[in-house]
Symmetry: D4
Subunit: 175 residues, 8 copies
């Protein structure tokens, strides 16, 4: 890959969000991509407040070399759908809990897309942001055996973590 | 007003919907505008399947002489928000019950807009379509005394209708 | 316009709410109207606790020169519907999160109006209050070119704000 | 009691509904009152389409001799709350399933009343209409020993009905 | 009325709740009854943890002279229904927000009663507790002109309170 | 086991439901118990309409030899909780879709029991009725090796059914 | 019973949870089993992060002597269903409130099992954890008269606790 | 690609569903893959009724050459999560409306996955099945320029379809 903004190579994944208030949650996606060594770019653009910027982002995403776009938004979360309308790249939505409805609004706004324009929706909030990054890696791993190996190793790491926590909990409660 | 497509004058209200399956419901808005003699145009365009057509519609709406846009959509109903992002005309959303969730998805996708870009949301389905048309008339009536008078007359008509139905029901049940 | 209570001219927009506990949220509408230089009045009246006061408010709204009424209420939010029943002015509802149901009660109570009497519903809470004010401006801008210009300028301001926040976020996360 | 419209005496209970489409369900309340021999009146009036008629109904309810008012409404069901705002009679709401949301809108619009103005809410639909009538009888029975006796007899009738149905079901399934 | 536990006369209203954790909310009902001078009794009994105590309470309620029973419960709120099954007194439910579902569980458990056994349901939480007390007063006022007068006076007090708060808010925001 | 009403031995499982309208769904539980050869009894009793009958049922359930009670109810489904309050037998609830809310009311009324009195809740409707029967068998199988064997055989039967249906579907779609 | 990890005898109940963050809630189940003297084991295993560990747990549960398995999980709570798919032991689910949806996701993921594989679902959160333990005791008590006696005693203890709290509350509020 | 079951080459996409009752909906995914010429396989396997078959499917999916797995399930829809737990391939869930809750249960069971194991969720029902197929194509198109071209062409086809339907609707309503 070529040089990129985060110092290694051209970004393969875009992380886009509708507001800077989404950064603490969507930053979890960035951290996970760093963990897997997948170069990414991070932008803020609103479907509603900056539609031209959003369209530019979407229509140039393929030529910029992206393989997937992760989109975080809350409330009437239109951003992922608007991106998906302008690119045939896989678009992954992270619905955010940004209103008094706990993210149910963002979930339904993201997932209930009409026939023809898919948006792949993850869990509400930080779990969804982390998983969006992993899912983007799973897409890229289809043609990157090294990354595929990292994903398998991560699975083992998760399983080991569970076993260790279980031992600790057993000692505390069964002791 | 000048000549228009529906035979009288330039359209003042746009009725836009995401799919031709929305026509039976959104046609109720058209009928109500005809009743009030307000010229309108009717189009289908999808936020997701025809984004360029949708943007063209929105960005030329003011210069075409529209005073309000009524937008019907179901599921992840982004169409009203996408129109609102591209025009400062009043945008009125009619959430449609087009999925197994009874329109709750379309309602939340329409109404929970972020700060800065308002979408005025009506009831789910046909009641919302009728009321969107009346609301558009209320907007136009601010500078059209004739239409304002028609709205007042319509209110009286509604009240008379209630009284007549009540008399009929009393006879049946109390008789 | 003539002299008014807030020092410039007759109010064009009414801001009404059901309780003084709604002031912190509904005050956001007032601030936004000030920003756009649109004169307004602010009142508290309850559909249930002060029905006569509410009716007086609604039935005199047109003759007082209002062009739109913004109504905030929580729980079984009947206030906007009650106002709409007594005036043909555009009525804009702001459902408030005032109970343990997160505003879903107020949203449904506001938006699901029957055929004939529209209420234009905004998002739950502060986003809705801000947008109600902007939407009232969009209505008035139909016959006020100066205000229409301010609305266009505000859109540009929103877009610039997004771009600036994006630059800041990129530096932090991609750095 | 004096003479009344339904042939026996002055009505003690009012049955009010927002639309003639509510008659099939609200008629269940009328039937139950007839069963208990409680004179009633039945009217249609809308909180939104006929506010003056609704107010007249509410403000004269006590002087007309009513002891309770049963109110059926669907969607943004404001009618019970509006009646309760204008009378200190007990107001009993029957939320109706009149939209695609299955009556959840009417339930929340009826039950989530603010402090000061109670509305006693029954189940959605026909079960609620029947129970509203029984509940009105329970109120009146506080000063009508004859009616109190009928209510006790009705309870026994219900219990007997359960036992008979159980015998029938046992024969069929355990046979 | 005779002497009673709260120092004046026999209780006319019972306040029952399922747990002592409900006391802070249900105490609002007690305060409101004191305000109106209506003698009451207050008990804790669970439909599930103390069914015999609950049945005793319900089956003796009429002979103890009660005119209405107010029942507060959260979660799977069966208490009001269980009381209603054992008495023909008016039973008024206050659904409480006692779980992570914000009282929606208690609301549906209280309100969706089957045909034959009504439970009059109030708003979730403190507003419902206050209104349950007022509603009990409205029932009793049917044969107590003094109390009826107090209820009318209370309505005027509510309306005055609204007007005063409005004046204060106007000064602050319209300044 | 001794002789029983369904011709083989004393019932080990009680199937109870609140109304004869629940029979078509709750009959699925009866069929499944027959399949496993577990003797059962079937009764109708309402928590609200026949509380004494319900209490009799619950308080004698252990002495009658039951090992578990399956309870079906819709709406404000109190029946399982009321049974559980009067016996320490395992009580299994089947929430039924009997109102316009699709069984959400019955589900929450059944499952959200307070600390101390458990109700084991199954899926809404027929799937829940079938599974309640299987779950009762799983309880009894703890001390009945023959039944335990039948349960294992049933699992194999389920897996075989899936494989056969898959083959059929593959031929149709991949053909 | 034989020797066990918690110092007395072989575990009869398994407590399983998907994450160590579930420990504070699921620990309530452990405490309740200790109170009843029922030996238990406690483990952490995730349906998704450690599927092999989860399968091992389930497939060996019967031979390890367990009589029931209590499973706590939040979000898309698959753990109970996955355990139930691999054992014919009674599986008791405790849905946990671990996301912004208040446990509604975990409740529906646990309870809506398809025909054939039952999961007995308890209330969301700590009440459910406590009740899962009691329910497991109710299962075991079917063949353990000593435990059955303890369950009856616990019921009396609950009833006494209610009566004591009621006395205290009466003094405070009626005093 | 090599020879495959549907006559062209090795399947690249797996379509898996929990029951043959899901075939009418999930068949829409098959049709869409055929349209794009992407070879696929179709199987039925249940997370609960055939766990071993399900595990076999998941653990061999990569070696069989699949690039993505589409999983349809209703109710407590665990199938996609269980597949995702056993493979690092992209797993795409289609929640199905198979219960009285309209698919909300399946949606939440699919989408609310915990950190570490992503499931990409589509809309409930047929729209979701169609979009799952398109999304799988978007994944594969990352390394298949021919398929990428087909996706772009399909977008144009969608846009043309919208324009044609709009013309037809205009003639009918504006005529």
């Amino acid at each position: 890959m070529g040089n990129s903004k985060n110092g290694e190579s051209s970004p393969l994944v875009g992380i886009l969000m509708g507001s800077d208030s989404d950064l603490p949650v969507m930053g979890e996606a960035a951290k996970m991509l760093k963990k897997f060594g997948v170069p990414f770019e991070l932008e803020i653009s609103s479907a509603h407040r900056s539609p031209e910027r959003t369209r530019q982002y979407a229509t140039t995403a393929i030529e910029r070399g992206l393989k997937a776009v992760i989109v975080g938004a809350g409330g009437a979360a239109h951003l992922a759908g608007v991106i998906a309308a302008e690119t045939t790249l896989p678009v992954i939505a992270v619905p955010l809990s940004a209103t008094s409805l706990g993210g149910l609004d963002a979930l339904l706004s993201s997932v209930q897309m009409p026939k023809g324009i898919p948006v792949a929706t993850m869990a509400i909030g930080a779990a969804g942001a982390v998983n969006a990054a992993i899912f983007a890696c799973e897409i890229i791993a289809g043609s990157d055996a090294n990354l595929a190996g990292k994903l398998l190793e991560y699975r083992k790491e998760l399983a080991r973590g569970v076993a260790e926590k279980s031992e600790k909990a057993k000692r505390e409660f069964e002791g």
